[in-house]
């Protein structure tokens, strides 16, 4: 049996879900390969079969406690397609606000709670301090801002959906309740403080990135494609639009792609060592069709945000590199610009004269047997695709989640970081943290993204105390 020396990082900390990383060393102790293994398993696509389609938004929201709203929206859009209805304009706006609030709270969690220890204390900080306690001690104001911004997003979700986690307010055909004037005014009243937090956090972040030149150069800094939905005019959107794909030079590779025809241009590959599938752009094949989604990709594919302050920040962001912004370290920066955009855009929507309209739901029976719903989740483009029978029961479902679309890039990023920072068969705390930090930059949500029931090979190894493989069972 071939013996390879490996370093295992298990578990990867400060991310959403469970995973491990293995680094494979050559005879000289240099990293020659690296893998990001997702070790948790979900099976939503399979066990929703046989359920009434109307249950799907609530059922799919259970996939994730961080971004349930994104699943609600994509699922409800797929159900809208099954009903073959156009939802009322006010419901459309309310869903958008709901989604934007979700992005704010999710991005705030990623940046302030998970990554700010790295950014504030440095990548070589004592691991015992590299957490929220360390952030609290170094900068209580930053910690307060993080909590304030996350609470801002959660309270909007609660005001609209009735509860913070797993709200069931978004339904096929629209939303279940209109917005009250009291809730609109309360949300608008909290906007100035949220905006102030977003603006000062961006300034703080821009002031810190000089310290991370080496990380910027090595954290997933390589050419890939970028994908996201954009408006007809090329503007940023989280709710509705066509797929645009750009390359590393910033050139548009494909534009105006129908998101409901995702299967024409997105392929998925199963690897034996992970429960997370790897998506790729079909015309370029696997693995050359590697692409990234999420904040960095959206900032690369969008021509503009469409709000004043976010557009100023986007212009500055695009100056980071003459081509597309390639380093995955800049996911953090992109996340902050998106927070700013979301707050500004919510204010625009909430002050629309029709926002309190009571007509917020279109009622219909199923009029189509197949529907696709697509939205931009905090971590990237999210696809829900359902087929039903004549009774309206789900017969087949397919979900393509942002984290799976970043899987190839995350693996390549881990390899790039490991080659640069890991030397010999020992991990220094700083090297270990950087290997994890590059994963954190993508903000993967593993609970969301592992749905390969029935397709995933299962490998069980029996190891002796000294690590020797005594037996192995592989079920493909």
């Amino acid at each position: 049996m071939e013996q390879r020396r490996t370093i295992v990082i298990d578990p990867v900390t400060r991310i959403e879900g469970h995973s491990k990383i293995t680094l494979h060393l050559d005879d000289q102790g240099r990293v020659e390969d690296a893998r990001f293994h997702v070790t948790q398993f979900r099976g939503f696509e399979k066990f929703c079969e046989g359920r009434p389609f109307s249950e799907m938004p609530s059922l799919m929201a259970r996939i994730c406690g961080i971004c349930p709203v994104s699943h609600l929206i994509a699922s409800a859009k797929a159900c809208d397609a099954l009903l073959a209805v156009r939802i009322p304009p006010t419901a459309d706006k309310l869903r958008r606000i709901f989604g934007l609030a979700q992005v704010v709270q999710s991005h705030a969690l990623s940046l302030f709670h998970l990554s700010s220890p790295d950014l504030l204390l440095g990548m070589d900080a004592d691991p015992a301090q590299s957490n929220l306690v360390g952030v609290l001690e170094k900068s209580p104001a930053l910690a307060r801002d993080g909590i304030g911004l996350r609470k801002f997003g959660q309270q909007i979700i609660e005001r609209l959906g009735g509860k913070r986690i797993h709200p069931a307010w978004v339904v096929p055909g629209g939303v279940s309740e209109p917005l009250s004037a009291e809730n609109r005014d309360a949300i608008l009243g909290s906007v100035p403080e949220a905006l102030a937090i977003a603006l000062r956090t961006i300034e703080w972040f821009k002031g810190t990135i000089e310290r991370f030149r080496e990380e910027i150069a090595t954290f997933g800094n390589f050419p890939t494609l970028f994908m996201g939905i954009v408006k007809k005019d090329g503007g940023l959107t989280f709710y509705d639009g066509d797929i645009r794909i750009t390359d590393a030079s910033g050139k548009i590779v494909a534009d105006g792609l129908d998101p409901t025809r995702y299967f024409d241009y997105i392929g998925e590959k199963v690897e034996s060592w992970s429960y997370l599938k790897s998506a790729y752009y079909k015309p370029k094949g696997f693995p050359d069709g590697i692409y990234r989604v999420g904040p960095l990709a959206r900032m690369n594919v969008a021509d503009r945000c469409g709000t004043l302050r976010a557009d100023q920040e986007l212009a500055e962001f695009h100056e980071l590199q003459r081509t597309a912004v390639l380093s995955s370290f800049h996911y953090h920066h992109a996340r902050l610009i998106e927070i700013l955009y979301c707050i500004e855009r919510m204010e625009q929507l909430l002050t629309h004269p029709e926002i309190l309209d009571k007509h917020v739901r279109a009622i219909a029976r199923p009029n189509a047997l197949e529907g696709v719903g697509v939205a931009e989740a905090p971590r990237g483009t999210l696809f829900h695709h359902y087929k039903i029978d004549e009774q309206g029961l789900i017969r087949w479902a397919n979900l393509i989640i942002a984290t799976g679309q970043n899987n190839l890039a995350m693996n390549r990023s881990v390899l790039q970081v490991a080659k640069h920072f890991v030397h010999g068969d020992r991990l220094t705390p700083g090297a270990l943290n950087r290997v994890e930090a590059v994963i954190r930059a993508y903000d993967p949500c593993l609970s969301c993204s592992t749905h390969a029931l029935g397709q995933m090979a299962l490998r069980i190894q029996l190891l002796s105390p000294n690590g020797e493989v005594l037996d192995e069972v592989v079920r493909s």
Binding site: R14, H113, N131, V133, I147, R150, R164
Partner: protein, 154 residues
């Protein structure tokens, strides 16, 4: 008048783990006063520290795993420095976080009842269902006494 915060938390889809929700929902009906605020949630997250800064007293109602089913316990809480996680905190960690972030020092109590079954389901066990009124009566009585006190917040 003092402000009181009542936090009921747990997973209502894991039977007795949802007793905190049930208790808080019942108390929100029996204590409809502006001095009392309620939070019902799956777990304690850092954002709750913000709620603690504007209250004098806080009750954390949760299910306990160890002990006789239906056994009731009410304990005062003290600060507990240590690692604060982003997704789930203990009441003591949350109290510490509120103190560190906002200088908030509400008096806090954990009120727990030992559950019997924690498998999937939305109903409480018969034992906990029968014992829950003891818990809500305890919190209701304490809360009525506490809100009558002058606020001690600065």
């Amino acid at each position: 008048m003092s402000q009181v915060l009542i936090v009921g938390y747990g997973n209502p889809l894991r039977r007795d783990d949802g007793l905190g929700w049930r208790a808080a929902e019942a108390l929100s009906q029996s204590l409809p006063f502006p001095e009392i605020d309620f939070v019902i949630c799956h777990q304690l997250a850092p954002e709750l520290a913000d709620n603690l800064r504007s209250t004098d007293f806080v009750f954390f109602i949760d299910a306990a795993h160890e002990g006789q089913p239906g056994e009731l316990s009410c304990e005062p809480l003290t600060l507990q420095p240590g690692i604060i996680r982003s997704h789930q905190l203990s009441p003591a960690h949350l109290l510490t976080l509120a103190q560190q972030l906002y200088g908030a020092t509400p008096r806090a109590f954990t009120v727990s009842m030992c559950g019997e079954y924690f498998d999937h389901g939305a109903t409480l066990s018969a034992t906990v269902e029968a014992a829950l009124p003891k818990l809500t009566a305890l919190v209701e009585n304490l809360t009525r006494q506490l809100i009558a006190r002058p606020s001690c917040r600065v």
